[in-house]
């Protein structure tokens, strides 16, 4: 980084000359108002709010007004923020923006965390002089996630810039002309983009607000918040979970420079409502009847006196899995996944310990050539797709560089680059949402995709084995992809287990290994898939053979794991389940213990990058609910079990460093979960008792269920919410970063526990034969859906509205002999015709009953519906 001396109000400061003045000032902690600039999207200079006065030299007294976001922080620049003319200019700009702003802050969901409010206060505009009519708009229905209130718009264009240019959507746009610009769709309807929820945070005011929050509305200052980690896929995006009155109210993005940055996917943002679901288990149950915690524990003691086996879960924390493992013994602990999935995870883990490094999402964003093999990333690990979408901007950025256009000058960069895109190649079983930016696409059955991967690896390095008889259609693709990867500085291979094909993973490994210095990213479908794999427990297949009277199942619905879950469970005399939502497995259990879901629990998850991240309770779990590791073990504190697990499982030794220990204090005080304006302390429970209860103690973390504590900035892993004086909105995150859009102060949270190894790997040699369609049978593969395939978010009402009903997808030519419905596995399903699907392959929605729990890929007959 080249630092330049810039004079602000006659004082010398050091700024990065690659940045603009606005970024420079914000990094130094100065307050300069802005609207249209966004750290992830750069400057366009549209709102004119960050005006400062620039002087030629120290003798220049007149100066001229410039936009800080459009002016580079060049050495020797002299500016003034406090100059009266600049102050007056900014005040006038905001007065103009407020002309049509409705008088509705009290009933606006953005109120109290509104960037427009903050900036208005910052500029000092406080009195309305304009007395003419205000312009009004009609609102649109935009789906179950977002609420639209167009009157509040200040035309900063951030929403369409994010939606269209950053996230690649095309159904939101600016309409009409002059002072009546409308931001919305061409007609009412659900926003199609999977990242539309970010508009809640991108919009500086209340045009787009969280529709799920609206149903149980609470102001930001009234929420009890804690740093948390998303549990709806394997990426481990950082979130802030916020609750009040004992229910989880909403999630917002928690900036982590290495992982999710500024954005989340809609499944992650809106899937949280399963925590408040009516299917929550809130009492211990024996034979379906609620009992006390003591009675439940007594029964657990009886049932575990004999021969016991334990079944862990990829959606339970390391701690909970370890507690079960310690209880039943390492040799009687099984990973709660099918044999196929366990083998695939083990294979991925072994591959990632080879020479190819697993990238963080930030590195994915910075890669300049991508080859996606077999994954529909948008639907399996959605947030990664947003990063991949940015990666195609890396190579064309050289055009802007040649023209000396700074990276942040967004509009100029896009003008220079036009429609040019860096190389991104997708090979998948059906169409994916990234095809629109792909330089090449290939469709095939899983084995054909693997063969394609092997061919690319061979093209890159002749030592890698080549498949025989590759079809003509694939040869161009192989050549182009191999050339693009070879020419790239930071090539990236993306693959995963979502088609349940080991050959695809091996092919992806070959590609990565064939190209020295390339990165290899695997997706994982569940929040702790990688962590569970690192525990190296045998899978459920092995549990079939185990002799035991009692089986303890941890946070796992076996009916989503095994085709014959019923027969499997019948082999045990006693079934104990620890879980938080009722499901088919809890219905079969003799003893059910109420576990705490992520918002009410502490624990550690390992994401698909191999990063261990700790999350903390946003709400105290309502007794007798408690964390699974508390039910199953006798540890008093989280730190004790983390230490025990780090000692017992060497690959996980570093998890102790995922977050500061519970003894961490700042000036002797804990970190408050509640903002200092938290209200209602002496009234919220007064209807039950006028004696205010003591706040719950938290022995597991340095956070307190209180507004008392040290208000200073804790390390990132403990940051319960982003707020600084004058910055009530989420834009306050600027004040918590070392660099704008860089790491959080003190480093980004989490610790990488999976690093690439040394040495030359042996290429995988097992190339599958080409796929041959069968006459009466179809190869059934799972098609993933961002909404509906994941188990927990299915129980969130907003997400479930968008989940697809079960269907069978076939190539139209295959489907010609059927009507609108077809029969499979003895049930009738609507038939979907997907032109992109190869012939001989049938797709069914993954994770959607009755397809959840099937072993994929499988051959199945599809019959004419009677």
């Amino acid at each position: 980084m080249n630092m330049a001396t810039v004079y602000v109000d006659n004082r010398a400061y050091e700024m990065d000359e690659k940045q603009n003045l606005l970024e420079g000032c914000l990094r130094l902690g100065m307050d300069l108002p802005y609207f249209c600039w966004h750290p992830a999207m750069g400057s366009v200079g549209a709102c004119r709010q960050c005006a400062v006065k620039q002087f030629r030299d120290e003798k220049d007294e007149r100066g001229r007004i410039v936009m800080a976001c459009m002016t580079p922080a060049a050495a020797g620049t002299r500016i003034s923020i406090r100059d009266p003319e600049a102050v007056e200019f900014r005040k006038a700009v905001i007065e103009g923006l407020m002309l049509n702003h409705p008088h509705d802050c009290p009933v606006c969901d953005e109120g109290g965390e509104c960037h427009l409010q903050d900036m208005t206060v910052m500029t000092g505009h406080d009195y309305r002089r304009y007395t003419f009519e205000k312009r009004t708009f009609r609102n649109q229905y935009l789906g179950p996630f977002l609420n639209h209130e167009m009157n509040r718009c200040i035309q900063c264009y951030r929403c369409v810039r994010f939606y269209r240019e950053y996230a690649g959507g095309n159904d939101l746009n600016a309409f009409a002309l002059r002072n009546i610009v409308f931001f919305g769709r061409d007609r009412d309807g659900v926003l199609e983009n999977e990242f539309a929820g970010n508009l809640v945070e991108v919009c500086p005011t209340g045009v787009f607000t969280d529709a799920t929050l609206k149903r149980h509305y609470t102001r930001k200052w009234d929420m009890e918040m804690a740093p948390s980690v998303c549990v709806h896929c394997g990426l481990g995006c950082n979130i802030t979970a916020a609750g009040r009155y004992g229910t989880l109210r909403r999630l917002v993005n928690r900036y982590n420079g290495e992982v999710n940055g500024y954005f989340l996917c809609d499944r992650g943002r809106f899937g949280y409502e399963f925590v408040n679901s009516e299917r929550r288990i809130r009492q211990p149950l024996i034979e379906g009847k609620a009992v006390s915690a003591e009675a439940a524990l007594a029964r657990l003691g009886e049932l575990t006196s004999g021969r016991v086996i334990g079944v862990g879960s990829p959606r339970a924390t390391l701690e909970s899995n370890f507690a079960l493992r310690a209880m039943v013994g390492a040799d009687r602990f099984f990973a709660g996944i099918s044999g196929t999935e366990a083998r695939l995870l083990k294979l991925m883990l072994e591959v990632l310990r080879g020479p190819a490094r697993t990238p963080s999402l930030r590195e994915i964003e910075a890669s300049d050539a991508v080859f996606i093999l077999g994954e529909d990333v948008t639907n399996v690990a959605p947030r990664m797709a947003l990063s991949l979408r940015q990666s195609v901007r890396q190579q064309p950025m050289e055009i802007a560089e040649r023209l000396h256009i700074p990276v942040w000058m967004d509009h100029a960069v896009r003008e220079a680059v036009q429609e040019k895109k860096g190389p991104l190649f997708t090979a998948s079983v059906s169409a994916t949402r990234l095809d629109d930016i792909a330089a090449g696409t290939y469709r095939g059955a899983p084995d054909d995709l693997a063969r394609l991967g092997f061919a690319v690896a061979h093209a890159l390095n002749s030592e890698a084995p080549a498949p025989a008889g590759l079809p003509e259609s694939a040869r161009d693709f192989v050549k182009e992809a191999a050339e693009a990867l070879k020419a790239a500085k930071r090539p990236l291979i993306v693959s995963g287990a979502s088609l349940a094909s080991a050959a695809i993973i091996e092919a992806a490994a070959n590609v990565a290994w064939a190209l020295a210095g390339s990165m290899l990213a695997f997706t994982a479908t569940e929040s702790n898939s990688m962590g569970l794999a690192m525990m190296e427990a045998p899978a459920l297949d092995a549990a079939q053979a185990a002799h035991a009277d009692t089986i303890i199942i941890l946070e796992n619905d076996l009916f989503r794991r095994l085709p014959e879950a019923e027969q499997f469970l019948e082999r045990f005399r006693h079934v104990v389940v620890v879980d938080y939502l009722e499901n088919a497995t809890t219905a079969k259990a003799e003893l059910v213990l109420p576990a705490a879901p992520f918002a009410e629990a502490d624990g550690t998850l390992v994401n698909s990058e191999g990063r261990a991240q700790r999350f903390f309770q946003a709400l105290p779990p309502p007794a007798p609910v408690k964390e699974s590791w508390r039910w199953l073990g006798s540890w008093d504190k989280l730190d004790d079990i983390v230490e025990a697990l780090a000692r017992a499982i060497p690959p996980l030794a570093a998890v102790t460093r995922a977050a500061p220990p519970a003894s961490f204090r700042m000036s002797g005080a804990k970190v408050p979960r509640q903002p200092h304006r938290y209200s209602g302390r002496t009234a919220m429970l007064a209807n039950i008792s006028v004696h205010e209860p003591k706040p719950p103690a938290d022995p597991d973390s340095p956070l307190a269920f209180s507004m008392e504590g040290n208000p200073d900035q804790p390390p990132g892993a403990l940051q319960p919410f982003f707020w600084t004086p004058g910055w009530n909105s989420i834009q306050a995150v600027n004040k918590f970063q070392e660099e704008i859009a860089g790491p959080l102060r003190g480093g980004d949270p989490g610790v990488r526990i999976l690093e690439a190894g040394e040495g030359t790997p042996r290429f995988f040699e097992d190339i599958p034969a080409a796929f041959e369609p069968r006459a009466e049978e179809w190869l059934v593969v799972p098609l993933h859906h961002i909404f509906g395939s994941e188990e927990l978010s299915r129980h969130a009402p907003a997400v479930s509205q968008l989940a697809p009903p079960p269907y069978i997808a076939l190539n139209p030519e295959d489907a010609a002999r059927f009507g609108d419905e077809a029969e499979m596995l003895g049930q009738r399903f609507p038939l979907k015709r997907l032109a992109e699907l190869p012939r001989g392959v049938a797709g069914v929605p993954a994770g959607v009953p009755p397809f959840a729990g099937l072993e994929f890929p499988m051959w199945s007959r599809i019959l004419q519906a009677p």
């Binding site: 009004t136 609102n139 009409a176 009234a683």
Partner: protein
Amino acid sequence: MLSMIRTIWYVFLHMFHRRVTVQYPDEQPYLAPRYRGRIILSRDPDGGERCVACYLCAAACPVDCIALQATEDSTGRRYPEFFRINFSRCIFCGFCEEACPTYAIQLTPDFEMSEYQRPNLVYEKEDLLISGPGKYPGYNFWRVSGVQIGGKDKGEAENEGRPVDLHSLLP
């Protein structure tokens, strides 16, 4: 001796002075309308609940004795699902009234709130809501605010133009 007689004389004179003691409670003192006593929730001139559940009173309250939960009716009009004031904590500072953007919460000249049981000092919305507009007869927040509710469409609030027709290209 002399001083005793003087004292008796003064006492005698006092019999003809004006009385300052008020015979409370038989006789009620005058309290100005702005007196800060028992808190009420008022209604707007149309009879609707004035409180829009914005949480500002709760945030302003220095003793945190106000708790509420916002909800909406089917037309989008926001109101408190519950509204609770714990008067055993209230210090009658009037900050809530200052903070209220809709004139809903008001302090009244009634201070006779003594109870034998503290729980009886916890007032719910039913106990707080009165049937009139209180000290501010004219104001109706919804007539000014730009959001649409039942009976008031977009563009029908004070100082609002008709909703923009997006399909028109006319200047």
